[in-house]
Amino acid sequence: MKKLILIALLAFFAVSSYSFDANLAKKEGKVNLYANITAIEPLVEKFSSDTGVKATYTRISTSKYLATVLTEFSAGKLQADVVQGPLPILNTLKDKGVLKKYDKSFLDGYPDWAKADDYIAAFGIEYVAVIYNKELVKGDDIPKNYMDLINPKWKNKIVMPDPASHATTISWLVGLKENKIFGNDEEWMKFVKGLAANRPMFVKSFSPTPAPVESGEKLLAISMPKYIVTKAPAPLDWVKTDTLLGSPRGIALVEKSTNPNAAEMFLKYWLSENNMRELANKVGEYVLAKNVFPPINEIEKAKVIPIRELTDEETKKWGEEFKTIFYGK
């Protein structure tokens, strides 16, 4: 099996058009990835074992991302060869001259919007859904759509990231409005206020949302379906809505990288269909490679839409708005 995978991998590399030199990449011997995506250690290790080029992964949280990369860059000590993060962060890095163009000729099967930028390749969507404890919420009790969350029976039974400060949640709530998930703005506001009236428990980000649902402390979470995969065998399932929204995840090469060939090798490996399948299967990510889905029941039936990037000013403005609604007595 391993041999087959290796042959497939070599075949993939053979038909791709390369701008990097594989021998030079091996000579460089290493590549450093800065990323905010979690649980990707197995994929980074797999790259090392498949290519012989040692990949190291430094996790940088969103709140420290720009400060870290820009400080290192301005001091001429940027240790990353490849950077992965939310599009607004990568766009800022592009504006500051940190990124370099990549060869996107091989990105067949990716949607046009994902490869529209010359510097940043979008490879996935940080999709958000309602997840629930399937041992405690059963049958007709399972919500069928977003509006079901405002039913008073869920009062004090929902957990979600703080909508006043968590940027992705703010973008998601605004995305529900802008993508007309509720038909019109009044219905959307009814949803937001109804959700607030159910007094959800706030946590700082998505990562602490599944635990209270696993343990039964809360029954529903506004969270990410990827946890159904990464937290198996926890009794988690998702509310099967037609449309899911999420922030695009991007990846890019670094200008003046110390390992440029290894970096390009990594980027192309990362964006390959094989790797995307691994990312979906092992990390539960929603990826943009054609017909690749995470192993989550019926997820392929959902339409997953990338939401508009809010500017920092918009994020702060909406954060204040949601603070008034959710924190009001």
């Binding site: 450093n32 979690t38 649980a39 250690e41 190291t56 992964y57 430094t58 996790r59 949280s61 969103t62 709140s63 420290k64 991302y65 720009l66 400060a67 870290t68 400080t71 290192e72 301005s74 001091a75 000590k77 240790q79 939310p86 607004p88 962060i89 800022t92 004090n156 957990v159 703080d162 006043a164 400060s165 968590h166 940027a167 703010i170 428990m201 706030f202 946590v203 700082k204 990562s207 602490p208 599944p210 635990a211 209270p212 696993e214 343990s215 039964g216 402390e217 809360k218 946890y227 990464t230 937290k231 065998p233 926890a234 920092d312 000013e313 994020t315 702060k316 954060g319 924190y327």
Partner: protein, 534 residues
């Protein structure tokens, strides 16, 4: 740098001086409520930690209560537990929906509602107080230990009871240590983020640290200048506290208890109260410290976060332990943290002895400034301090290495080294040093032969405080750590961000085990070199 940053439009851009950040930060209508919550939280935590520490220190150092060595270790266990894990354990025990202790009490007492709600200001005080208990304990215990019995004997000869002697003699003389622990806990809880985020945020109770987190995390370009501007109120509070402390202990001669050959620590016999008090201390230790650790052990064996049921027990395995032990990054983190804990604490204590000497014995205004300066790093939000260190180190060849972490740790946590040692210094009369100097001994000989042996309990406390702090340090590590210089707390954070609570607990327990070994070794060494005990 950070102070400057709070007056700039953009941090790092030195054009455009402005008060905008201060105006925005301090005219926020929510700010008053946040300050109120913060004051209640930090003062409450400090009182709870100090009272508990005084009681446990007295029992463990001054009385003949059985199993003292065990209780001494238990008292400092919270220091070895990553704060996020300790907070989560208490959430599992006392959340109002299905907290294990709440559910048990409801079943036993036939209650319809949960008796406790951890998501409250009292819940926050309770958990933060427990986490800060070791800090208070490690400052008060050496001072209790070095207390000259003759003062208490005089009180008893005059007809006072044990209790009256404790309140009229023991406590007043211990004022520097109690004040030092109280202030350090206040400053520590001002900087605390785990408890306010894990317990406060779900309860919608915001304090300075979570407010700053909201400021930094709203949007992708974090406004560190604004965070620094808010941090200035914590800095101001810390400076005021230090000056109050210095004023209260300015007449150091009042607190001298080691002044002549007559010094000899003696244990007080509890007589008939011996076993009732033993059970009380045992009960407190069990409920407050052992139970959360047991919860961690349980969580490390389950595949996901589960309340204890028959099914949960049937699903238990050592899988999480196996995976952590074979994970190269976890093992490298353990090695790095051990190095930082042992080397860093040793260097930090050496530096602390000299700084404490200057603060206590060289009575100049500069000493007060030096003492205030040593608290500077505590007064800013952790995330801001971390970024500040990054700006500094990125200009040096040390950036990205374990040495940057070592220097950053010592610089940041120096107050933990200074406080126990300076409290111990205050109790040593100048005449001892003067006699040595009169007999022709040099300053270093006097320090080595007279002062340091008397300081051993303080030094041991300070070493334990620093090494356990360094062993589980996160604030700086999360910014400065790079591949090759990973440390335990960063690895624990990774597991936490992946929601891998089982692995998180397993690594947490490994951390506690190693910390315990370090603490036991340090305590035994201290015991060997000194008659006094902590």
């Amino acid at each position: 740098m950070l102070l400057l940053g709070s007056f700039l439009n953009n941090l790092g851009n030195f054009s455009g001086f402005t008060f905008e950040k201060y105006i925005a930060a301090y005219t926020d209508p929510e700010f008053l409520k946040i300050i109120y919550n913060t004051v209640v939280f930090v003062v409450g935590s400090a009182i709870f930690a100090a009272v508990l520490a005084i009681f446990l220190s007295y029992m463990n150092t001054r009385t003949d209560i059985p199993f003292k060595f065990l209780f001494k270790i238990i008292s400092i266990i919270p220091m070895m537990i990553p704060h996020i894990l300790f907070s989560i354990s208490w959430v599992l025990l006392l959340n109002p929906s299905n907290g294990i202790l709440n559910t048990a009490l409801m079943n036993i007492l036939g209650l319809s509602d949960s008796p406790f709600n951890i998501y409250s200001i009292s819940g926050m005080i309770f958990v933060e107080g427990l986490l800060d208990l070791p800090i208070a304990y490690l400052i008060i215990a050496p001072a209790m230990s070095s207390f000259d019995i003759s003062l208490e004997e005089s009180s008893k000869v005059s007809g006072a009871s044990n209790t009256k002697t404790f309140f009229k003699i023991t406590l007043p003389v211990l004022r520097p240590a109690i004040m030092a622990s109280f202030i350090l806990v206040i400053v520590r809880s001002l900087a605390s983020f785990a408890v306010p985020s894990v317990i406060g945020m779900p309860g919608r109770i915001y304090v300075l640290s979570t407010h700053i987190y909201r400021v930094v995390s709203s949007g992708f370009s974090a406004d560190y200048g604004m965070a620094a501007a808010i941090g200035m109120s914590a800095l101001a509070a810390s400076i005021v506290l230090i000056y109050i402390y210095r004023y209260l202990v300015s007449e150091t001669s009042k607190f001298v208890t080691i002044s002549s050959r007559g010094f000899k620590p003696v244990l007080i016999s509890l007589k008939n109260y011996k076993y009732p008090l033993f059970f009380l201390v045992g009960f407190i230790s069990f409920i407050l410290i052992v139970v959360p650790v047991v919860v961690l052990c349980y969580t490390s064996l389950t595949p996901y976060v589960m309340v204890p049921t028959k099914r949960a027990f049937s699903m238990m395995s050592l899988k999480n332990w196996y995976e952590v032990m074979k994970d190269p990054i976890s093992m490298l983190s353990l090695k790095n943290s051990l190095f930082l804990g042992i080397t860093g604490a040793t260097l930090g204590v050496l530096l602390s002895v000299f700084v404490s000497y200057v603060i206590v014995k060289v009575k100049t205004k500069a000493a007060g400034f030096l003492e205030s300066l040593s608290f500077l790093s505590f007064s800013f939000p952790g995330i801001v301090i971390g970024v500040g260190f990054m700006w500094f180190f990125v200009k040096t060849p040390l950036y990205g290495t374990i040495w940057a972490l070592l220097i950053g740790y010592i610089a940041t946590y120096l107050p933990y080294g200074i406080r126990p040692i300076s409290s111990a210094f205050i109790q040593i009369h100048d005449s001892l040093e003067e006699s040595s100097r009169v007999c022709g001994a040099s300053y270093l000989t006097t320090l080595r032969k007279i002062i340091i042996p008397l300081l051993i309990p303080g030094i041991v406390s300070s070493w334990i405080l620093m090494s356990t702090m360094f062993f589980r340090e996160l604030t700086l590590s999360v910014v400065l750590s790079r591949p090759g210089s990973e440390v335990l707390a960063v690895q624990i954070l990774r597991f936490s961000e992946d929601g891998l609570w089982g692995k998180l607990s397993a690594l947490g327990i490994i951390m506690i085990l190693f910390s315990t070994i370090i603490v036991v070794c340090a305590s035994l060494l201290g015991k060997k070199f000194s008659k006094m005990h902590i």
